[in-house]
Amino acid sequence: MPGFLEIDHVTMRFAANAPSVLDRVSLSIQEGEYVAVIGHSGCGKSTLLNIVAGLLRATEGGVILQGTEVNAPGPDRAVVFQNHSLLPWLTCRENVRLAVDQVFGKTKTRAERADWVDANLGLVRMMAAADKRPNEISGGMKQRIGIARALAMQPKVLLLDEPFGALDALTRAHLQDQVMEIHARLKTTVMMITHDVDEAVLLSDRIVMMTNGPEAQIGEVLEVDLPRPRERLTMAQNPRFLAARARVMEFLYARHRNPAQAA
């Protein structure tokens, strides 16, 4: 059975005679599944996400979403960018509003769109700061607005590009819990890029481990067989959690060491 989202033999080369960044990467993601892609920096995992988002065109191969090939960006594959990418001249509400107006301008009335914006701001608990500008709120709050903006597009796939990478540990944990809660409620299909092992194991149904670039490939795929809802504190002692964590660590640090550190 073909997956909901199919990444089909994607090869990416930035210059014609340069070595490829990604080499025939194939991955099938089911509807409602939460998949984390993990690897050392420079392994091309962000490139892979950008290809799925349509922001980059694959040199060879392609991406199929619900049976249709996608090769241009669109709101059905909403992205939460690593550096939040909020427009600084708009308030938080206006940032979400811009996306909602654009995506639902023809299908929803003005009042419905306004309600939908607020509903999504409420989902990430950002109603209180809705009328502030991005430079007036913290990094964690900006990222929550970024998530609200992406969710408000009602995407078929939510793409998270190291969404918590720039945040401190406490804020990160808080946001991870929120994302888990939202995923449980909305059953959105999620593809998340990360380099944080705990984050990958805690959040995902499957972890895709990438080998080091150039010519990066999928080295191993791990099913995370843990019941949901997952609770951060109990997970820390759950043997299956620890086993999954050990397996990813072993892949990243024993078999595919960071080339920068190995040197």
């Binding site: 988002a53 349509g54 922001l55 960006p73 669109g74 709101p75 594959r77 909403a78 992205v79 960018f81 550096n83 990418s85 909020l86 427009l87 600084p88 001249w89 811009l98 996306a99 654009q102 995506v103 500008r133 991005p134 430079n135 597009m153």
Partner: protein, 290 residues
């Protein structure tokens, strides 16, 4: 004196704690103190310069009038900026307004055309290759060099002067807008791509606000150049206007009037600059810091 001072300093902390009104008193006092610190050096400097000028120019052999003589000679001009005695004999305010009107027209046109052309050059590599070399050459032509050509084309003083302002102010607007458009961060482009903002919406919601700080830099340089050019242009075209006023004063050897006019020209130029800077700050609030 010393008693009041001591009482004042003792009383302040207790008042601050007990009554909210005193907060305003303290705030007002702080404000006065701060403005004194900023303004006082200026006042001292001005007094000093005027003093030196007075001493240097207050003798029969001096070619330029001393401040005291300017005050006597041009008292009417300084105190009544808006008198009309018929013909071109009217207050400085009227001359300045006439000049400002010309600058207003010319600058508004150059802002519109400049932003549009800048957007074009900034977004299209083809337009960039075709137009940029032309702009780079034309922008070095001094404003007054355009005047004869402009008079030949328009055959009237008013549109010629406005054209000179237009052609003077447009280059920095074009160039800065183009730079701003080319430097729209990839992050914003990605956001626009994901939500499929295209065409006019992309222009108005992403491109224009992202480039706004650059555009206002161009506008600010442009308005400064306009004001520089208008005085020179009006000296040649005549009619009502501050440039003509200065030239007329020179012809009737009213050196004092010239000096008064120069001070006004400087102050108005400064205000124009502040005005555009303020508009820029209000409109680009938040844009420059992300």
């Amino acid at each position: 004196m010393s008693v009041t001072l001591a009482r004042g300093t003792d009383a302040v902390p207790s008042i601050t704690r007990s009554r909210p009104l005193s907060v305003y008193v303290v705030a007002a006092r702080d404000w006065l103190k701060r403005s004194a610190i900023t303004v006082l050096p200026l006042i001292i400097m001005l007094t000093l310069l005027l003093g030196i000028w007075q001493i240097a120019a207050d003798r029969p052999s001096a070619t330029l009038p001393a401040p005291s003589k300017i005050w006597q000679d041009s008292y009417e001009l300084i105190v009544h900026p808006f008198y009309i005695r018929g013909g071109l004999d009217r207050g400085l305010g009227w001359h300045l307004l006439a000049s400002l009107q010309r600058v207003g027209f010319g600058f508004a046109l150059s802002a519109l055309a400049g932003i549009a052309l800048g957007m074009l050059v900034g977004t299209s590599p083809l337009a960039m290759r075709g137009l940029d070399p032309i702009f780079q050459v034309l922008r070095t032509v001094p404003p007054l060099a355009w005047l004869p050509l402009s008079l030949a084309a328009f055959r009237e003083a008013q549109p010629s002067a406005i054209f000179v302002i237009f052609i003077t102010a447009i280059w920095p607007v074009i160039i800065n807008t183009a730079v701003g458009v080319r430097n729209v961060p990839q992050d914003y482009r990605n956001v626009a791509a994901v939500i499929q903002l295209r065409g006019f919406k992309y222009f108005s919601r992403i491109l224009l606000p992202a480039a706004a700080p650059f555009i206002f830099t161009g506008l600010r340089i442009g308005i400064g150049l306009s004001w520089l050019a208008i005085v020179a242009a009006e000296m040649l075209i005549g009619g009502v206007g501050i440039g003509f006023f200065i030239w007329d004063a020179w012809n009737s050897s009213n050196i004092s009037d010239i000096i008064v006019a120069l001070i006004y020209v400087g102050l108005v130029g400064y205000m124009l600059d502040r005005l555009v800077a303020l508009a820029g700050r209000l409109i680009t609030r938040g844009t420059s810091s992300s």
